[in-house]
Amino acid sequence: MAVTLLTRLAAAAPVPVFVARGGGAGMVPAELHADTRLRLVTSARHATVLLAAGRFPAALGEALDRLHDQLAQPRRTVWWTPDASVERPACLEEGATVVTGSDPVGAVVAAHRAALTEPASADPPVLRDEPPNPFEGGGDHGQGGEGMMGGVPYGRPMAMTADDRDGLALDQLPVVFGPFLLGLPNGVQVRAVLQGGTLQGAQLEQLDLGDGPPLPGSETDRGGPCQHLRWVADALRLAGLDALGRRAAGLARSALTDRRACASLARAVRRSGLPATWSGIGVLDGEDASLRLERRLRFDEPADGIPLGRVAGSLPGQDWSDALVTVWSASAPDAVASAAQGRSG
């Protein structure tokens, strides 16, 4: 009895869903934030449902498989795609619910309830529980390099010392972030060299997004208010203003944009101090993140996205959070997405 009550309560909770954006998804999934039946989470560990939006070919598919296995049980996978015949990774093979329409929320909620009430048909892991690369240790203690340091045991480089901005040569750590992180354009991953919380080096890689039709909704209003509002919704989540982000996502979803509501949102954003907080971050082509935010709030024509290579060049020396803000504001993620789509079309 108690257990069923617990399950009933859990099933009625807002669904913690991790949205992975693939090829053709554009910024449409940002609108899901407006739905109070869902709660978008930024760590797969907190989610019960993995919503894969779009195409996941090759490397992107491998990344999705790894992400899938990190969700805690009970879990379910939902694939939101206009065309289910394209190449798919293992985690979307069986068991995943496929949604081809324009609204996946119903399917996500159903998947969440199913996960909690039918534990027998759990969503099993698709990768074996082992390091992604074989152990390649050497040296005195199996660490892979000479002496105490260096080497790539398990394919991951060990931290090594290098110069830094304080003039203290402390350890720096090579890591890969992405490609499904909030603040990164679809299919982009960061190869970063970290020293403490500061980036010493960074490369932005655009993984292949594949060919095919885009998600319904991503074609509407490119460069118009909707796209701006989707961008703002994600930016606000990145800035810790979840509730305001939900308001922006709601305005984006309601297509016929209510001018007064938009103006009131812009006022709320300015009052939150976000423009002041973001001033001075990611200065490229004479604009910082704050100015780019203002431009979006005014629905001005977006500047063409700055190429990923140049954005990456401006990252070293920045704190990781500032770097994310730089990437999200400077690379113009809608331009990146539509460029990828343009290539496909």
């Binding site: 203690h141 199996g142 660490q143 000479e146 002496g147 105490m148 340091m149 010392t161 304080d166 003039g167 203290l168 040569a169 402390l170 350890d171 403490g196």
Partner: protein
Amino acid sequence: MTGVAFWVFGVAAVVAGWRVFRTDSMVRATFLLLASFLNVGAILLLLGGAYLGMALLFMMTVEMTVMVIFMVAFMMNPAGLNPMNMTHQPRLAAVAGWAAFAGGAAVAWRSNFPDRPLPAGKAVIAELGTELMGRSMLMFETAGVALVATMIGAVVLSSRRSRYGQDAGDDGSLPPVLDPATGAYPAGVLPEPEASGHGHHGGHS
């Protein structure tokens, strides 16, 4: 009750202090040391030092938080995921440690200290305050000045542009050239070439 608590805290302080030097993880080592301090703080509270114990908790926690950052920043392999040995002269160290303990224990055992226990209900906190701001003010102020001097000294020592001017940059720990015209360095302090300057964590190849 207090007797049991005393022995629990005491044994915990000693065991934690021993494990500090027996764990591979630097973070664990630091927090084990903190645990040792916290247990001693608890004993001081039991002994009636209401302010001393609390102050120890507060001070040591902050100090160990700084310590742990240093540990992770400067030590190789701070998580202890690779087994390694970072000790020297183990026999001398062990003998000295045991000897110190034996000496202290002998004093504790054999000496006759005056038996003047803390009177119950003594206003120890107010007394400490009056002492610090009254009779022993000079001592207290000296300690304060010493701390300020330490702060300044520590910043100067560790700052990048420390001893030799504003824009010395990496040369902060180098004395200035003797003769600016020729750029000659004092004997024995010739700047090493970059490559050999990075014999990192030397002594471990």
